[in-house]
Symmetry: C2
Subunit: 201 residues, 2 copies
DNA sequence: GTCTATATAGAGATAGAC
DNA sequence: GTCTATCTCTATATAGAC
């Protein structure tokens, strides 16, 4: 059998996927290194090693590049959260695993996560993003209800918000020790979930 | 004595101050109504009822308009926090007053506060802003130490972050009842401050 | 001192050669 | 399919009349 000189269809598709992923990852790296204001289509193309024309071959506009990065990150978080909810029966351990997932997600690339959040707020969510966000909220709610039977959608949102806020603030202030931050996040989350025994004035 | 037909110096200064304030408030209203991406110098001038040329008579560049808005908001928060720390001896009441101050600040104009935060992150702080932020942190730390003697700068940052995060998330999700939100913020903050009696896994 | 008109720069996006 | 060159738009900021 001679060497085929025309790539098969799925080989081309694989190459196309790789290029798409390179573009998305280039956007991630720019966010990480230089922030949201540096995220221009020309820079994305340059960093991805393709021309601006090629970028627009793969994505209809800038927004869709960011949207795909968002989907990628959210899908990874969803996987992590679901894995956390599989862990055994101890409710405290489950919440601990949930916090770990959130921290891992936020701490893997803290600057990127922060800048992506900033960009996200200015973007309308499409259907797939809404579905992912809802799935994450549901999965988190399932875990939280093991500790706090009244936990609802607002509870899940608050817990995510607390995790993000403490990690982002710590990262901005130059903290780098995840265990110290984990301890603080857990205190806030557990305290939030279990109504304190003392009275609130 | 005839009607003076030339304004005195401090009258001119007062007019100038009023124009400056009108420009800053116009920026605030644009953030509130249309978000950070709509905050252009032309729109600020238009909304303030002056021409773009006049805006640049009062501010050297766009950044300094935003900076003055930031200073205005931070100074107001500092006043509120200091007032909260004056209240009597009960540490829980003091923390409650602190949370109320933060909520009042964030809830007075939630959309504006959120968008201003977004803009802020992309801006380098000047000396006056750094001083204000430090003063706020110190004042909060003084209150927190009444409940938690180990409270340090990171503690104060975390508490502010928790307040902001829960309020912003709630506002984004369409919640409007401040008392419900206050209860959740207090649970998270008090839980964060007092190490729980049960063990953390 | 306030305006209109405009210079300048950089963004997103497209056209058309190869 | 990928590139270079470029269009178009909109932003910040300035110039110069009044």
């Amino acid at each position: 059998m001679s060497k085929p000189h025309q790539p098969r269809k799925h080989a081309r598709q694989a190459r196309a996927r790789a290029t798409q992923e390179a573009i998305v990852e280039a956007a991630a790296r720019i966010l990480e290194a230089d922030g949201a204001s540096a995220l221009t289509t020309n820079r994305i193309a340059e960093r991805a090693g393709v021309s601006i024309g090629s970028l627009y071959q793969y994505f209809p506009d800038k927004r869709s590049v960011i949207a795909q990065l968002l989907r990628r990150e959210r899908a990874a978080l969803l996987d992590d959260v679901r894995a956390a909810s599989d862990g055994g029966g101890d409710p405290f351990a489950a919440v601990g695993a949930l916090v770990d997932a959130a921290l891992r997600h936020q701490f893997a690339r803290p600057a990127m996560a922060m800048e992506l959040e900033r960009v996200e707020t200015g973007l309308a969510m499409d259907n797939e993003e809404i579905a992912l966000a809802a799935a994450i909220e549901t999965a988190i709610g399932n875990i939280l209800r093991r500790l706090d039977p009244q936990a609802d959608a607002a509870t899940a949102r608050d817990v995510v918000a607390i995790c993000r806020a403490i990690v982002n603030t710590a990262a901005l202030a130059g903290e780098t020790d995840p265990t110290r931050i984990r301890e603080r996040v857990l205190r806030a989350v557990i305290g939030y979930l279990r109504p304190p025994a003392f009275s609130i004035p």
